[in-house]
Symmetry: C2
Subunit: 243 residues, 2 copies
Amino acid sequence: MRYLIKFSYDGTLFLGYQKQPNKRTVEGELEKALYSINNHKATRIYSSGRTDRGVHALGQTAHFDLEVNITLYKLKCALNSLLPDDIHVIEVNNVDESFHARFLVKKKTYKYYLNMGEYDPTRRNIIYQYNKLLDIDSMCYAIKSFCGQHDFKIFTSMEAVKTSYVRTIYDATIEVLGDLVVFTFTGDGFMKYQIRNMVGTLIKIGKGKLDKNIIDKLLNNELSNKYVYTAKPEGLYLVDVYY
Amino acid sequence: MRYLIKFSYDGTLFLGYQKQPNKRTVEGELEKALYSINNHKATRIYSSGRTDRGVHALGQTAHFDLEVNITLYKLKCALNSLLPDDIHVIEVNNVDESFHARFLVKKKTYKYYLNMGEYDPTRRNIIYQYNKLLDIDSMCYAIKSFCGQHDFKIFTSMEAVKTSYVRTIYDATIEVLGDLVVFTFTGDGFMKYQIRNMVGTLIKIGKGKLDKNIIDKLLNNELSNKYVYTAKPEGLYLVDVYY
């Protein structure tokens, strides 16, 4: 039987997402729990995609196959009792044998949280502590340039080698709630560092270090990637995966 | 010169508030930083009061005396550069030699955060993960009984030996923001475990396990303390100290 799970995690104490020998990773912890549940049989999980080290998730998804017979409710309880307290399974569903958690993704939503106010030690690992005011109007103007279909190569990690860097962003917004700035991006897919690089560059615009029209020029390859800045991972959350 | 500081901390990784040999405490870290600033002279700090292990602060206060000459701005910078990233100095002020951060407290405000929604691993150390719905109306009714002057002995820790357990609570409220419940208490002083015991008992009322009129009976010593429950520390924040 194939199962699809929706789960959340605090990225702070993981050495990344993907399984690696002798390293504490999100995938590794999930596969360890599934090994116990699936009669001590190595069980691979297939996620919607990886997240960078230090990045959080409130709605990550993955599928896996089990040989044992177990109800959805018992599987959720078993997973949550075996998993460490920084990973939590929100939902468990049965899916068709043809379902694939990565290949069938239609859209993903990410949020990035930034604090413009006083440094808050209680939120230091879950909200980026920028601790200075930003020019929100410039950032709201600039973020619109990301919407639509573009070649995002300049906004990805140099390590990311892809056949195509063309992605579509359906929606990109900035909300301000007191000192908190929330960036939301929904798109058909995001590459390594892409959101952190888009947010990092928007922050430089909000700081007045970059012109608010620079995004269009970067997307049109009129400028080098030295104008692209990477925002810290701790403000970033994968919030939803749509199929 | 005497200085008054306002500071915040994340209680998660401290083994309590008060200095203890070979233990990482909030007071210990502050005194270590002040030792460096005050020409390697042992410098005691006097806080508005302790907080329990695991409890956070967004507006704790303390005073201390320095022999060195240093501007307020430089003192703030020096402290924040020497302190670990889970303590942060928000404000530094000069005060009169007669000022005392504990004896002159007029009021304190504490907040307690509880999540009624899905378990959130990213907030597990800073919001109590209750993860079930509560009857807010009963709790709002019951919390009013705490307001005014009462003998709170039944709501303090058995260890707390005081000459008087009489305290005044000026304001006690519950706000609901989606799945988040925020309890706010302002009073002339709170004893060990007092707020956690008040909140823990309110939670049992919200759960339907205790009658909503029980607070009056407990405050009037008509019932034993077996009806008093202690809420977990991670939801509690000292937010303001008034002089």
